[in-house]
Symmetry: C2
Subunit: 454 residues, 2 copies
Amino acid sequence: MHLVAIGGSDAGISAALRARELDPSVDVTVIAADAFPNFSICGIPYYFSREVQPWQTLAHRTAAELEATGMALRLETFVTAIDPERRTLTVEAGGVSDDVSYDELVVGVGASPARAGISGLDTLGPADGVHVLHSMGDTFALERDLDERRPRTAIIIGAGYVGLEMAEALTVRGLAVTQLQRGPEVLSTFDPQLGAIVHEELVDHGVRVETGVRVASLVRESAGIVVIANREGNEVRFTADIVLVVVGVAPNTALLSAIGVPVGPGGATVVDPTMRTGIPHVWAAGDGVVTHHRLLGETYLPLGTTAHKQGRVAGENAIGGTATFAGSVGTQVVKVFDVVAARTGLRDQDAATAGFSPRTAASSADDHKRYYPGATTIDFRVTGDERDGRLLGAQLVGRRSAEVSKRVDTFATAIHHRMTVAEMSALDLSYTPPLGSPWDAVQMASQAWERGVR
Amino acid sequence: MHLVAIGGSDAGISAALRARELDPSVDVTVIAADAFPNFSICGIPYYFSREVQPWQTLAHRTAAELEATGMALRLETFVTAIDPERRTLTVEAGGVSDDVSYDELVVGVGASPARAGISGLDTLGPADGVHVLHSMGDTFALERDLDERRPRTAIIIGAGYVGLEMAEALTVRGLAVTQLQRGPEVLSTFDPQLGAIVHEELVDHGVRVETGVRVASLVRESAGIVVIANREGNEVRFTADIVLVVVGVAPNTALLSAIGVPVGPGGATVVDPTMRTGIPHVWAAGDGVVTHHRLLGETYLPLGTTAHKQGRVAGENAIGGTATFAGSVGTQVVKVFDVVAARTGLRDQDAATAGFSPRTAASSADDHKRYYPGATTIDFRVTGDERDGRLLGAQLVGRRSAEVSKRVDTFATAIHHRMTVAEMSALDLSYTPPLGSPWDAVQMASQAWERGVR
């Protein structure tokens, strides 16, 4: 059996590793377009902040470590076509075309940076000081630009996870950063009341944050890159030495669409929860495919954690297994300077759109007993269904010491199991005064929802 | 309706608060034997370390705050008898006897320090430098002793949670501490391989740790208090200026036994999961009663977190509710200097005794991506049933920065829901490089169990 995985990032590598783990007799080949398989793309901002050096340490595993598991790697190799009848791929490497045959194929080609209809992005690039950030190639281009041109000012278009992490990184690097956000508040996957806490943390560290700014175009002028935007009907302009565009991603679907695999939510390739594409012997996983969500059904939510899980399922099933992707609940976390924001499940408006009857309660609770030194407050927004009390979502923002990231995991696990908000109080969670309270903060926030809503 | 709660600690106060929260028309009286209702007994070691000052801040709520919720407090009042026919209590305060009538009664009289058959404990007390530690009265006695006699050496008999926390506290206070433990390793609710990490942390901070020491008696001599013990059949003696005996607790059951409520596991009062004693209108909760455990059924496991939950159930049901205590899973955590040890569920031998077919796998995983500064290793022992893969328990030890306490909560929530070890990989847990990994450490430990056992 020859399993081929296309894509050297989370989904492809996870599929390859899982297949080799379960059956070391399976031949596995990973074909990757770039030279950097299994790099932690989520770690790139920490390379720019210089907390991570050298860049090679960003690899989850080195190419040698991957090969030691028994898989073959074909790097800097592009797959241009799939022939599902003959079970062959057309590949190109170094200008030479070739065929690769497979018994089972896992496609994990991921996504590409979105451009949000911003004009100028098609002509301006790294040489002009205009960057996107998605691959190690993008990383090297930006680093070279920082190194050679020594820009003093930067504009970051977008204030999602990567945008915020890069605002921190470039600030730490000594650049004066202006962050532009289309919506009314940074971190638009959180309610604005909590995004405002992150906003304040950015400002406290010297980042200029401009919200409600819809960017139309980029122009290169002698003073730098000019960002032309619209705010409340008026044109506004921002100028900086470099501009970083981090406004999300768009799934790469061309390879599978060409053989008839349809696209669904978010324009992503449709797969079933076993990662089957519908084309015999062809599986797909990762940022290029739809996400099965335990509350929303089929949606698109590209995340590394999901890609790992989907890839593992695809790798298992491709060699004859019966795994199923159990479904995302939308858990995400970001650290911005000393603040951590974490969320899982649905917010009010998302839940209402999905047919729930959501109510959201804001509350705050100490991360540990107030009498013990270092206690800080975690701000919560808990969302539940007012009809049946079902827990639908939770958002938490607190200081880094407050274990916010692992507290959201308790909510995520509860949502996975369809708990009610009230049932959160039944969980036997850990307590010691330096680290918690007899009712953990997540339970106090749940009880606040009960008091406020039920 | 007049609800009376006996006991001013977690169970009694939680019952009173819950009743007042649900129905502000209910008259609630709390009768407490000492003068300090609603104190955080778990915080006492941090008073001794001087991290918590003054002692008043150890109160979860002050007496005034409790009274502001509309409950009446009768402090320094002993209940000597219950008359379930007439629904009255005999109480004594300041040498005067009195009757108190009730419509519903919640008994939360807790537990008392165990003495483990150590002779001398009946005659030696605080004036001799021999202390137990369970109440604010014990706290003041020890503090007075530390203050007035300025002891330089201390022996702590017992190396459970409180014993370890007190070893840290007295070390921080400048005393030379010797810790005596009957079993082969400290922290006997953990497997010795993990207890050894805590042991090392104690030694690194100057604590002398002696294991395998069975204490027989205490004698006061001119050199100090002599602890006479047996180790491997030989008598051993340890001498110090003060001795602290923290070897667990025994449930207080006299009041309810006198009216015919039976005792069960651990000698604790038997209640059903609604906290009903079987005597009409009499409920009981907290460290005096049995614990319903989701894996073990009825057991005895006195803990503040459980007492809060049981008290809440009792308070709700006493005024006509239909709450049920959902059951403990045995979650506990302790911080010892810079190490945190957390556990939930069952260990191998406990699980085997309960009829499971347990297998335990040891592994370790980084708390966050190794490339980001500050990563540390968490040591895991995951226990599952080899027949059906059911998750039975988890033990974690790591540095304080590793969010061990809230990671055990993910296992606790999973055990609550009868997950298999394999299903842990399906959980959508949070990830950002400074705080986790694409597969969280708890998932990597679960995958290690799968690889090793299944």
